[in-house]
């Protein structure tokens, strides 16, 4: 068990290294002189030279990478070219909106998906089951920004119930905070909820035909008890992976949703930094999100060992 976790942690190193190389190489793929591109047309030669020096672009590639990566491991991404502050500071200031948005969306998706999937499986081919499939297929096909805009049109423009965008800090005014987060959360969780519900449905269907479920019925246990205690528990095991994958989707989706609803989070900063050609921020934001994703998937794998006693990885 411990050996397994240790081995998985060790495997993390090459993946993070590859992620680092990809992020770092990106800046060197900029056509022409990266420093000149970042500073734009008006920059003087001295300014460009100074930036080259500051970014260490005059040194050989591997030296640059090594310096950059060791700094990254200490969470030092250098200074933003535009914001006049360290990149790490800029990101930390924007973690709350992104983190909360992702958390709300993931919670909502799970809360919708489990009951919907269970009911659809138990009443297979019913109207509800079909509605769920339509919901799930549309969720995957509708672009999240367009769904967000439809929500704004309905709830902000037509009904006037909710603010059309912006963000209120949770510590300033929790009620306003939640009001501002309702639509972004709906928009971000829609596709994940559909996918998750479909998965719960199909794994419930698998489990419902298993022997132990029949045995449970044969013992005379009530239907409800069999479904919730016996079937659902096992059906939820593959669910964990989908939660991990959905989280990645949501971290990516939050970039778009934060732009739709004008939320000052990491995603919005990333998009702004792309237009400002603020590459240290772009690198850092992308690197952080990828690292979070790798860690989440690791966590999912480790949780499997706890949840599913059939899984015996490295120990035998």
């Amino acid at each position: 068990m411990t050996a397994y976790i240790l081995r998985r942690l060790l495997l993390l190193i090459p993946v993070l290294l590859v992620v680092g190389v990809i992020v770092f190489t990106l800046i060197h793929l900029i056509p022409g002189d990266p420093a000149a591109v970042m500073l734009g047309r008006e920059a003087t030669r001295e300014q460009v030279e100074a930036l080259r020096e500051r970014l260490g672009l005059n040194e050989p590639f591997h030296v640059q990478f090594f310096k950059w990566f060791t700094n990254v491991l200490r969470l030092d991404f250098g200074n933003s070219l535009f914001l006049d502050q360290p990149v790490t500071r800029a990101l930390l200031d924007r973690v709350q909106p992104t983190g909360l948005l992702t958390l709300y969306s993931l919670t909502l998706a799970v809360l919708i998906a489990i009951p919907a999937g269970v009911v659809a499986a138990v009443r297979r081919n019913s109207l509800l089951d079909r509605l769920l499939m339509v919901f799930s297929i549309s969720g995957v096909a509708i672009p999240n920004f367009f769904f967000g805009i439809l929500l704004i049109l309905l709830f902000a423009v037509i009904l006037g119930w909710l603010p059309s965008g912006g963000y209120v800090d949770i510590t300033d005014d929790p009620v306003e905070h939640l009001k501002h987060m309702v639509m972004p959360t709906l928009a971000l969780s829609f596709s994940a909820a559909g996918l998750m519900a479909r998965l719960v449905r199909s794994s419930m269907l698998d489990v419902l035909h298993d022997d132990y479920v029949r045995t449970a019925y044969a013992k005379g246990l009530p239907h409800r008890h069999v479904i919730l205690r016996h079937a659902l528990r096992n059906a939820l095991i593959p669910f964990l992976t989908i939660v991990g994958i959905s989280l990645a989707g949501m971290l990516g989706g939050s970039v778009v949703i934060e732009t739709v609803f004008n939320i000052p989070g990491m995603g919005r900063l990333l998009v702004q930094s792309v237009t400002r050609r603020d590459f240290p921020v772009v690198q850092a934001a992308v690197m952080v999100v990828a690292a979070v994703e790798v860690l989440v998937m690791l966590l999912v794998d480790i949780l499997y060992v706890y949840i599913d006693p059939r899984v015996r990885y490295g120990s035998d």
Partner: protein
Amino acid sequence: MAQTETRTTITQVTAPRARRFRLSSITPSSRYYWLRLLLENPAAVLSIGFIGLIVVLAVLASWIAPYEPTFVNPAERLRPPSREHWFGTDDLGRDVFSRAVYGARISLVVGLAVMVGSMLLGSLIGLIAGYYARVDTLLMRIMDGLEAFPSILLAIAIMATLGSALENVIIALSVVYAPNIARLVRSTTLMNKRQPYVESARAIGLRDSVILRRYIFLNSLSPLIVQCTFVVAFAILAESSLSYLGAGVPPGIPTWGNMVSDGQAQLQRAWWIAVFPGMFLFLTVLAVNLLGDGLRDALDPRVRKR
């Protein structure tokens, strides 16, 4: 090679005039049975119809669109849908329908080009990784690294480097979806390379490139086709997100994504600017996904029972 020849002769002998195309005449033993299954699936048929319509719009855009997509007409600003302007006009007086029709071009070009790009790149990597155990770990770790990024984020990062242009969108998205294809092709390659027919091909002295192409790649084709359909859908979605964020195709070219973005600013006064292109986008992606589901069910008899 010899095997395929024998097979064709047998089919010719048993079914000499199967060419005259009637769906019901295709029996489960036929090579085209999957086509019959596909065409018996109403969702797939509707999807094919809708995709066909979008293709026609895109190809014949300059004939179908009643106005130039970039024609600015201040006298006709923010007009609601009417007989002259089916989808209304935007804040510059441009015809939304004409722009949506031209927008179909970008979506389709990106969808198809990314499919081809990621399939070529992904298949090459997958074949090499699956066939040559020595480079497998290295290649697959790189794929792991690429897959650690949420796809839209990696696309944004690549676009930030390359700058906004149609071909850069295609390159960025091909790189983003290649690992997915590579993983699939690698797994079928691992399976196929232990098959007796590959061993015999090696025994008669065929070169690796021939074995990979004719014996391994062709046998991975049916799951690959299904996966490619989904790549088209993902690519269309991702392109629209990039355009919406202003990180895709240059802003002057009408795309469904940047039309929705323009429309968002006018949502209070003119809902039609964002809603019509958004619906085009949604329905196109929906149709491609349903076609993918249909193809999967038709090509993979194991899923069919479900």
